[in-house]
Symmetry: C2
Subunit: 341 residues, 2 copies
């Protein structure tokens, strides 16, 4: 499934906000944002491509329109969500020791760990200053405070999710519930904040805002499971991640967590043996994927992603908003669950 | 000079706020705050001592009282300032590869780098959530937004300062101006935010709030220069830092920066030679301190600290507030410039 057409409307406008932020000319950022977002290459030369789909910002704007709001008022929130996501990627790449993202060296690989930690902190700070710009777009200070609470609540969950992610790396006894708890925090929280902020900035009905929060959480789960699937069976060219990087990093993705539970006898022994090796190497990856394929964990994972997609659709219907308002949100939901990159 | 008596009034109240924050029971923090603040030891056993003087929070409350405000309303701001300071120490210790603080292993030494980066992010998030609690104390949302701008502005400067600090480590050509630019960002900014937030929460006169901001900046400079002096000539027992740690880390403190400019001939050659060694060892430290002593850089540094203390006092007088209001602030200013720890 290709990127929905409306991305070409929203993405450039979020990018304009982000470009204004990147222009703050901070020495501590020193081209980090332009590089991370794919506007310049390692040599500082301009690049054509923008890396990243800006799905969180887009989700926020689509949600704002769905409730009948003026999405342009919500642009600082969309940019703030992307800045939080960017900060978390810069720090996660250090924490996970990831050397590449979108076929490019990660920020810490180029700037060193110390400056990358600090640059992440600066980006995190900018996310808040960007959100405060909502005041200039005519949003009341009461509402901006509400937005900040939602965003910071999500950030706290993000840290909790990352804590679990690091902790789980060395474990092979993660339950399916543990897995869902992890991704709900690590991915669901910021997606929930995205739909919630969009709805909040578009109108004032608390029950509807709460419903949008729940829609975002479900979409986040579908998105992450899809990510897990693409991380093993996706094409490196489209995902931008080194093939099967999740396996090398012992990430407790749904296919892997489920395989530990489903595997029996010899398969289980082989799987545990491979995951307990000090380093998982190229031939090990193929062996692991062979076992995953034999256990049909891909179909299981796809059905779980689909469940959360359908759950999100159910909540979307419960909003009782006019179908024309919900068209983009539904299309985005389908993209989250079926995307190939 | 001992800690002014009013610390015994404000510190326990800031601690109460901080204890409430530490009780949020986040897995990602996992005793990090209780340990960092000295309420438990490495084994998780309760300790008597509180580490850290909580000077930023105290400065905020003293400023609030100076303008005639109710300092208890400002307690969430005082706690938020301390949380920002704590987050920055947790990350700085990783960035600077510091293994000890207050005679205890640093957070990353105990929890590992990955979890320490993430814990710092969680603490930073809590600082904002704590500041938002001002709303519950009856502060208007307009004012809370103003406070957030001040705090985030300081955080951005903090990152800029840390960037310079890391960059300067390998350089021996730092000018006195470079040094002041660095400490104005790394220390001055958060102190300026402390006095500014206190004043802002205590009343509404913009010119006076601006003046308090400037007072804090000057106090920050005096505080940092004093810190530089104590880092070389202070007693390890009182400062809590390993003796002459700043020298081993090649920190561009005022005594060192000035010595590079003042040294001539053989002294200069020896000094540069020592600072360009791959590792600065114990005998090197003594040689460096000998040169610093011969160049009388301590007296120079003390006079510069005193200048900024006097400048702060001048601005304090310019507030035209009743002398009884300014008593604590002046006492705190003197402590900043003359403290032995």
């Amino acid at each position: 499934m290709v990127l929905p057409a409306f991305f070409s409307v929203y993405r450039p406008q979020i990018e304009t906000e982000l470009k204004a932020t990147a222009k703050t000319n901070l020495a501590s950022l020193n081209n980090v944002l332009d590089y991370h977002w794919g506007w310049i290459d390692q040599q500082g030369q301009p690049r054509q491509n923008t890396l990243g789909k800006l799905v969180r910002g887009t989700l926020c704007l689509v949600s704002c329109r769905a409730v009948g709001g003026d999405y342009q008022q919500a642009l600082p929130a969309a940019a703030a969500l992307e800045l939080v996501h960017t900060f978390s990627l810069i720090h996660d790449d250090i924490e996970d020791n990831s050397v590449e993202r979108h076929h490019q060296p990660t920020v810490w690989k180029l700037w060193g760990e110390a400056q990358a930690i600090n640059a992440g902190d600066a980006v995190y700070t900018l996310s808040h200053l960007t959100l405060l710009q909502l005041v200039k777009r005519g949003i009341s200070t009461d509402k901006v405070i509400h937005c900040l609470k939602v965003l910071d609540g999500a950030c706290l969950e993000l840290c909790e999710g990352q804590y679990l992610d690091i902790t789980y790396e060395d474990r092979v006894d993660i339950s399916i519930d543990d897995y869902f708890n992890l991704i709900s925090k690590k991915t669901g929280a910021l997606m929930a904040a995205s739909t919630c902020l969009g709805a909040l900035l578009g109108m004032a009905n608390p029950a509807l805002i709460e419903l949008f929060y729940t829609i975002g959480r479900e979409l986040g789960l579908a998105y992450q499971i899809r990510d897990d699937i693409l991380g093993i069976w996706g094409l490196e060219k489209s995902t931008g991640k080194p093939a099967r990087d999740d396996i090398i990093k012992r990430k407790k993705t749904l296919p892997v967590v489920y395989s530990f539970h489903k595997a029996q006898g010899r398969d289980k022994k082989r799987l545990l043996g491979l995951y307990q090796k000090p380093v998982i190497e190229e031939p090990d990856i193929s062996r692991i994927v062979e076992i995953l394929d034999a256990l049909e964990v891909r179909a299981f994972s796809e059905s779980r992603a689909n469940e959360h997609y359908l759950q999100a659709l159910k909540y979307i219907e419960e909003t009782n908003l006019p179908p024309s308002n919900l068209k983009e949100l539904k299309e985005l939901a389908r993209f989250f669950a079926e995307r190939e990159y």
